[in-house]
Subunit: 125 residues, 2 copies
DNA sequence: CTAAAACCTGACGCTAGCGTCAGAGGCAAG
DNA sequence: CTTGCCTCTGACGCTAGCGTCAGGTTTTAG
C-alpha cells in the first residue's frame, strides 16, 4: 500500500524514464551531464524526475535524429520552457529549420536515385 | 601545346577529382582505402583517375549523406557497374530504401515540430 | 533478513569519415 | 636549376552519443 504525500511529488526514477522512452539509463545520465535534463536527488543520491521528463527525453531524441547537437538543444530549450525568445534564438531556430529541410531534400534525392536502381534491377535481373 | 596520345588516356590526378567534387584530397584517398575507388598509378606512384571518377565520388557523397556506410556502398556498387544483382543485393537495396524513407519521415516530424515553435515565438515575442 | 534488482560515480572504448601534421619525392615554369 | 605547387605514405587526432566494465550503495521483493 502506497501513501501519496502530495500531488506534486509524483517523481520517477531513472529506469522509469529510460523504459518510458525506449532509451538506455546511460543515455539519460548523459543528457543530464550535457545540461539537457535537471533531476532532483533523493537523500541517498538517486535521481528523481518529474513525469514530464519522459516526453522531454522523447523530444531530445527527435532533435538528435534531426541532427541537432546537445549544445544546440540546451540553447534552444528556453524557447519551449518559457516561450520567450531573443533574436539570436529565433535565428538559430530558423537556421536549424533550413538545415533540416536541406537534409530532407538530400535524402529525397538519394531515395529517388535508389528507386531508379531498384526499378532497373527488378525489371532487368 | 599539348599532344593527345590517345582518347583512352584522359586521366586526371587526385587534386582534379577533389576540386571537381568539392571534397578534400584526403577524402578521395580514404575512398580508395575503403575499396570504393580504384586508381591507376603513374610510374612515380601518383594516382590517375578516369573522368568518370568525378561523378562517382559525387555519388558516394550522396550515399554518405543518406547514411550508408562505405562498406554498404562497396557491396552495392556492382548494382551500378554491372547492372547485375543477386537476391542479397536486392534485399539490401530495399532495406536501405526503407531506412532512408523512415529517416525522411523522422526529419519531417522534427521539422513540423520546429515550425510550430517558430510560429509561436514569432507571433508571441 | 537476504538476495536480487536498480542505482551511483568514474573512466575507458567505439565508430566513421575524414583533418592534420611530418617528412620526402615529383613536375612544369622561368 | 630552382622555385613552388602537387603528390606520396604513414599515423595520430577529433567529434558525439552513447556502450560497457568496475566496484560500491540502495531499494525492493519474498
Amino acid at each position: 500500500m502506497t501513501v501519496t504525500v502530495a500531488a506534486a511529488e509524483r517523481l520517477v526514477r531513472i529506469g522509469d524514464v529510460a523504459r518510458g522512452d525506449g532509451v538506455s539509463v546511460r543515455a539519460v545520465r548523459y543528457y543530464e551531464q550535457q545540461g539537457l535534463l535537471i533531476a532532483e536527488r533523493s537523500r541517498s543520491g538517486q535521481r528523481l524526475y518529474r513525469q514530464d521528463a519522459i516526453p522531454l527525453v522523447r523530444f531530445f531524441q527527435q532533435m538528435f535524429a534531426a541532427g541537432l547537437t546537445s549544445r544546440r538543444i540546451t540553447e534552444l530549450l528556453p524557447c519551449w520552457d518559457s516561450g520567450h525568445t531573443d533574436a539570436g534564438q529565433r535565428a538559430m531556430l530558423r537556421a536549424e529549420r533550413e538545415r533540416i529541410q536541406a537534409k530532407i531534400d538530400d535524402l529525397q534525392a538519394a531515395l529517388d536515385h535508389l528507386d531508379e536502381v531498384i526499378a532497373i534491377t527488378d525489371t532487368h535481373p
